[in-house]
Symmetry: C2
């Protein structure tokens, strides 16, 4: 039986291992720099950056969903689902759907007009699943990112006049 | 001369008009549902959803940038730039760059490892500009979204066991 529950600080080692397992699946196993200490500080401090749900099958951890509030200047407060992952041995039992149901319920409860997430364009099983539950793919948007020295250089060129 | 300053509640009508102008540019003029009251409540209440910078050229509003904190389970706290827009008559003067400098400075100041934003795949001038300042395009991610009745139906299927 699938049970979905909110993560607690004692789940941090589990969450850390699930984040690594998801990165392996996404073919970027070496991109995870976050530590258990950071996950604990950022998720369970005075101003949490995220919330996390743990899925269990008969008491055994089977997957997780991690999300946080964002903002749309067209529709207002929204929710972004950053990670959704089910361990391979628990797939095909509706665990991912159960997690998504719960995240959607959280979005509705907070009055969010939108729930959004990103999917890898080669992950066709996931794309088919998302379409089957009524999600829309925004095909014409691409993500840009700046990190490290490029980000610092860009910021250093600012002249604060505020 | 370009001046970048933090938006204040008195900028709400200006911000609302700039949001509409950006939606026109993005070929979705009818997608803006947000009201001035919502922008005020969400940006200037006890727990603001976003921050906004206004660019002025010789005291005349020329553009804006709107951003908020997000979270990466690989790198920790990050910043998402939701809107960046310069009015047509002020383009080509470095106003967008000045806004981006300031957003990057905010990201660095908060210890963010990443600054990210989205770009329309047909907006080649913007893509070229972003590449020129050191940003990377993540070509293999696509955005999924659920809204309205589909979102409510998904949430209604949840069984809260937390």
């Amino acid at each position: 039986m699938t049970r979905i529950r909110l993560a607690t600080p004692s789940d941090i080692p589990l969450m850390h291992s699930l984040v690594h397992a998801l990165a392996e699946f996404e073919r970027e196993p070496h991109s995870v720099e976050i530590t258990e200490e950071q996950l604990l500080r950022d998720g369970f401090g005075a101003h949490p950056y995220y919330e996390c749900l743990i899925a269990e099958e008969d008491g055994v951890p089977a997957g997780f969903a991690l999300y946080f509030p964002i903002y749309s200047t067209w529709q207002g407060p929204s929710l972004h689902l950053e990670d959704l992952f089910v361990l391979p041995e628990f797939r095909g039992r509706g665990v991912g759907k159960a997690l998504l149901n719960q995240v959607a319920a959280a979005a509705v409860k907070r009055g969010c007009a939108r729930l959004q997430w990103d999917v890898l364009d080669w992950n066709q099983p996931a794309i088919d699943f998302y379409h089957s539950i009524g999600a829309t793919m925004l095909g014409d948007w691409r993500r840009m990112r700046m990190t490290g020295d490029a980000l610092k250089a860009l910021g250093a060129a600012s002249e604060v006049t505020a």
